[in-house]
Amino acid sequence: MTGRPPTIIACPNGPLLVRGDAALETPDGEPIDRHGRNTVALCRCGASAIKPFCDGTHKMTGFRSDD
């Protein structure tokens, strides 16, 4: 816990960058391991092989967020 309110940056054509104290959980309420990372990138293109995290695949599929 960082004591910092969560912020989420919608990176253009890329992931959601999550900073601060956001709890990541499965639908069953199990915590998702952040692997010690304070800042994580959540996939929003659907193509990552390590969901919910981004693995950079959005750059190969040409994902457009149109934002």
């Binding site: 304070n38 800042t39 750059k59 190969m60």
Partner: protein
């Protein structure tokens, strides 16, 4: 040889009370013979001096700056010059530690600082000749990040990491780790030099990335430590310097370049751009590398380093593009050209090293300058 930890360096022999003075006698100087050889007159003069006491050798180094300038003038290409690149690695190593185990007082010896600066200035000039500045975006965070992502976008076709994924032998995987070890055993340190040279948003962004690189408080998770573990898992010696003889000048140049960028305030723009491009070209290749590691039958312990970078660098590339490079461009628009140039330096210089290694493998040759030292592998 395996399982040799890169522990803290041996203690200084001279007492703490004498730490502001040069050691009283040469015999008190700390020195261990390096695990690599000189490649020409400058690296040979350096290794010889470091092997003697600072007082004794210090006096004979008066001609070093002059001979360094002569070597630079005679060099057709400082980027690929074995003697000058190894010399710069040795000189940078006095600040990092662990390259040549010599007395700590050498770090700021004026003759060595002068030689380092002379090589760095020539190296930077050669990089500016050979690496063009890409088209410049507006100096806004969004536009700089978009331009960097465009510059570094994945390209189809042959690459070293795809070769490792599909075809590399165990021996070639070991060669890959050896080539990569020149930087990766000191991963992130080259950029940390830049922290006090940046301010505000760019500094915070660099530290946000570095915290992750250094394991966020867990030394076992430090990226350089995870890499050392992968080396040991493949039967390689993880002490810095064991394989320097095996590595071509252009691979050393990839590391001395990023150290030089981090080490010089005038190059802080290049550091930001270089690091951004480095992070942006990491997650996808590391996925291929992890595939190759598993195809060859190695487990998660060895793949960990590559798996970690798939996830970590997908975060880092966003921070680096938007906040480090983008933040720096907004704060100091005059650095925009260096930011984009530094990014291109990463792509082009690292690309030369990878292309040469790939060409060797495809021709059925080793990518190393000389075979691995016997006893240094399984």
């Amino acid at each position: 040889m395996s399982g040799v930890a890169t522990g803290p360096s041996m203690g200084r022999v001279n007492s703490p009370a004498a730490s502001t003075a040069v050691p009283a006698t040469p015999s008190q100087a700390r020195y261990e013979p390096p695990r690599f050889s000189a490649r020409g007159p400058i690296s040979s003069a350096l290794l010889e001096a470091l092997g003697r006491g600072i007082r004794e050798a210090g006096e004979s180094l008066g001609g070093l700056e002059h001979s360094t300038r002569e070597a630079i003038a005679a060099s057709p290409d400082v980027i690929r010059d074995d003697d000058l690149q190894l010399s710069l690695l040795i000189l940078h190593g006095l600040h990092y530690g662990g390259v040549v185990d010599s007395d700590d007082d050498w770090e700021w010896h004026p003759a060595l600082v002068a030689a380092r600066v002379a090589i760095e200035r020539a190296f930077e000039a050669e990089l500016r000749r050979q690496v063009p500045v890409p088209e410049l975006p507006n100096p806004s965070s969004e536009d700089v990040a978009a331009a960097l992502f465009e510059l570094t976008k994945p390209t189809p076709g042959p690459s070293l990491s795809r070769y490792v994924a599909r075809k590399a032998s165990e021996e070639q995987l070991r060669e890959y780790l050896v080539l990569r070890s020149i930087y990766t055993l000191k991963e992130a340190d080259a950029q940390t030099w830049a922290v006090p040279r940046l301010q505000g948003r760019a500094k915070a962004a660099l530290m946000e990335i570095q915290t992750d690189e250094y394991g966020a408080g867990d030394p076992e998770r430090m990226h350089s430590a995870i890499f050392a573990r992968a080396m040991r898992g493949l039967g390689l010696d993880d002490r810095y310097g064991t394989y320097i003889d095996c590595v071509p000048a252009v691979t050393i140049a990839s590391f001395t370049m990023m150290t030089m960028f981090g080490f010089n305030r005038s190059l802080r723009g290049a550091t930001a751009g270089h690091f951004s491009a480095y992070e942006m070209t990491s997650s996808i290749p590391n996925r291929y590398l992890a595939q190759g590691v598993r195809r060859l039958g190695f487990g998660d312990d060895i793949a960990w380093y590559f798996d970690e970078h798939v996830e970590a660098d997908s975060v880092h590339e966003q921070i680096a593009g938007r906040d480090l490079s983008g933040g720096l461009a907004e704060a100091e628009p005059s650095l925009l050209a260096d930011i984009m140039w530094g990014a291109n330096c990463s792509l082009i210089v690292d690309g030369w090293g990878s292309a040469e290694a790939l060409a060797c493998w495809e021709a059925g040759r080793s990518a190393l300058r000389m075979p691995l030292p016997s006893g240094a592998e399984r």
